[in-house]
C-alpha cells in the first residue's frame, strides 16, 4: 500500500507547544511516527557555566511555566542534599503544600485543554475558572501566579501564617465542591466516553517496556508514584491513583481522581504543620561539592535531577530529566496503529510539556 507522510506541527491547535511528528500513513492509519523537537531548546542546563549556584534556582524555575515551583524545589533539594542541609519541618511542609497546589492547577489546566480539544468549551472554561482559585492562592502566598521564586537553598523565602493556611484549606473545600460537577462530566458523559474509551491504549506491558511515568503509567495499571516510594512524603497517606484500561479515558480519569487526592494531602500537611511562628529557612554557608540525584513526582510524572558540583560557585552540571521526555517513547507507541483524526487527542492525553523536554 502506498504510504503518505503527514507532518503534524510544529504549530497545531491541539499542541500548546511546538512539536513535530512525521506521521507515516497507510490510508488514514498511522503506521509510524517520528518526533522532532528542538524548537524551544534554550540551553538552560548550560547556564550553570555562568550563573552561580545560589541564583541558579531562578533558571531551574523557568524550565516550564506549569511545573515551575517543582523545578525550583527539586533544584533546592539537590543543593541541600550536596551541602547536607536539613531544612526546617515547616519549610518542608510549605514546599509540599505548594507542590500539591501545583499538581491541582496543572491537572485543571490539562483537563480544560482536553475538554476544549474534544469540543466541550464550557467544560474547558469551568475547569479554568476553578484553576483560577488555585492561582489566587499562589498569588496570595507567594506574590506570583506562575513563577513564584519562593524556594531558597535552606528552606523557603516566605511563611504562610496559620490563619492563611486555614483559609487555604477552606478554599480547597470550595474547589473540591465545584470540581464535583466537572469530574462527573469527565467520568460519566457518554460523548466523552465514546470519544476517549478504547482510544490510544497503552497496555501495562507496553508501559513497562516504554519506561512510562506519571499518570501515563498509572492509567495503564502501574502504581508508579515517587510520592509513595520516596522519603519526601513520609508520614503522609499517599496512595497512587491507578486505572487499568490504559486508554485516553483512563489517563483523563487518573488526573480527575488525583485532584481530590492532592486536596486531601494538603489537608494532612496543614494538620501536621507546626503551629505558630517557626523558622522557614536555615542559613547555608560553604560551597557545594559532589554529585546527587533527586527524584520528585511532578504533575506529569517522575522528574530526575542530577547535580554535580566541584566546590566553586559555578556548578559543573545540572540535568533535569522531565516526565514528558520519559513519556515520548510511549507516545510514539500509542500513535502507531491509530487513525489520523485521533492523533491530536492521543498526544494531548500524555499532557506533553515540550519546554520541560527540551530545557
Amino acid at each position: 500500500m502506498k504510504r503518505t507522510i503527514v507532518l503534524m506541527g510544529p504549530q497545531h491547535p491541539a499542541l500548546p507547544e511546538p512539536l513535530v511528528l512525521d506521521l507515516v500513513l497507510e490510508d488514514e492509519r498511522v503506521v509510524d511516527a517520528i518526533p522532532t523537537i528542538g524548537y524551544v531548546h534554550r540551553g538552560l542546563e548550560a547556564m550553570v557555566e555562568k550563573v552561580e549556584f545560589t541564583e541558579f534556582g531562578m533558571v531551574a524555575e523557568r524550565i516550564c511555566g506549569i511545573c515551575s515551583f517543582m523545578h525550583g524545589m527539586g533544584y533546592a533539594m539537590a543543593v541541600e542534599d550536596l551541602m547536607k542541609v536539613e531544612i526546617p519541618e515547616r519549610a518542608r511542609g510549605l514546599r509540599l503544600v505548594w507542590a500539591e497546589l501545583s499538581r491541582i492547577h496543572s491537572h485543571l489546566l490539562w483537563l480544560g485543554l482536553a475538554a476544549d480539544a474534544f469540543g466541550f468549551e464550557n467544560l474547558f472554561m469551568h475547569c479554568w475558572r476553578i484553576r483560577e482559585q488555585i492561582l489566587d492562592i499562589f498569588e496570595r502566598t507567594t506574590g506570583g501566579r506562575i513563577i513564584f521564586s519562593v524556594n531558597r537553598i535552606g528552606g523557603v523565602k516566605r511563611d504562610i501564617d496559620d490563619n492563611t493556611l486555614a483559609g487555604i484549606v477552606a478554599k480547597l473545600g470550595e474547589v473540591e465542591e465545584s470540581f464535583v460537577g466537572a469530574a462527573r462530566v469527565f467520568t460519566e458523559d457518554p460523548s466523552i466516553r465514546h470519544r476517549l474509551r478504547g482510544l490510544g491504549v497503552l497496555t501495562r506491558e507496553d508501559a513497562i517496556a516504554a519506561d512510562a511515568v506519571g499518570p501515563m503509567a498509572r492509567a495503564s495499571g502501574l502504581p508508579i508514584d515517587v510520592r509513595a516510594s520516596g522519603p519526601l512524603y513520609q508520614g503522609l497517606e499517599v496512595e497512587p491513583v491507578v486505572e487499568v484500561e490504559g486508554d485516553c479515558l483512563a489517563r483523563c480519569l487518573v488526573r480527575v481522581r488525583e485532584i481530590p487526592r492532592s486536596i486531601g494531602l494538603i489537608r494532612q500537611l496543614v494538620a501536621r504543620m507546626p503551629r505558630g511562628s517557626h523558622p522557614v529557612d536555615v542559613p547555608v554557608k560553604g560551597l557545594p561539592k559532589g554529585e546527587t540525584f533527586i527524584r520528585l513526582e511532578q504533575p506529569r510524572g517522575e522528574v530526575v535531577y542530577y547535580l554535580k558540583a566541584n566546590g566553586t560557585r559555578l556548578l559543573e552540571r545540572f540535568r533535569a530529566r522531565t516526565p514528558t521526555f520519559a513519556n515520548i517513547p510511549a507516545m510514539i507507541k500509542l500513535v502507531k496503529g491509530c487513525e489520523l483524526a485521533d492523533v491530536p487527542n492521543i498526544i494531548l492525553t500524555i499532557d506533553p510539556c515540550i519546554s520541560c523536554t527540551e530545557r
Binding site: G38, H41, V304, A326, E358
Partner: protein, 125 residues
Amino acid sequence: MDSVVFLDKVRGYQRDGWRLALVNATSVLPSPEMPDGAVDVSWSFEKGGQLEHLRERVTSEDEVPSVSDVFGSAFLYENELRELFGVRVTGLNVDFKGALYRAQERVPFSPRAIRARLDAKGKKS
C-alpha cells in the same frame, strides 16, 4: 569500555525488573592529561524507589553501544548524547542522525565547546 560486559550488566537490570530512569552525560574539560577532554556517561536504573547507576568515561575516540535494544526508551537519551555531547553511540534503534534538536551550535555541550565558551568569557572553571 568493554561493550559485552557493559551490555550484560544492562540486560541484568532489565531482567531483574529495573527501569531506565535516566541516561546522563557530564563533560570533563580538556586538561594537559586529556587534551580533548572526555564525557562521563551514566545510566541510572530505578526499582522500588532505589536508583543504581552504571558509569563510563568516554573520549571522542570511544564508541558507546546503544542500550535501546534492551530498554526501548533509551533512543532519546542516546540521540541527545550524540547531538549535545558528541558521544559516539552505535546501534541505535531510532537514529535521528543529528536532527533531534535544532541547536544552532554543533555539539554545544562537548568538552571543547564548553572550554571555548569559558575561555571566551575569561572565566576559570
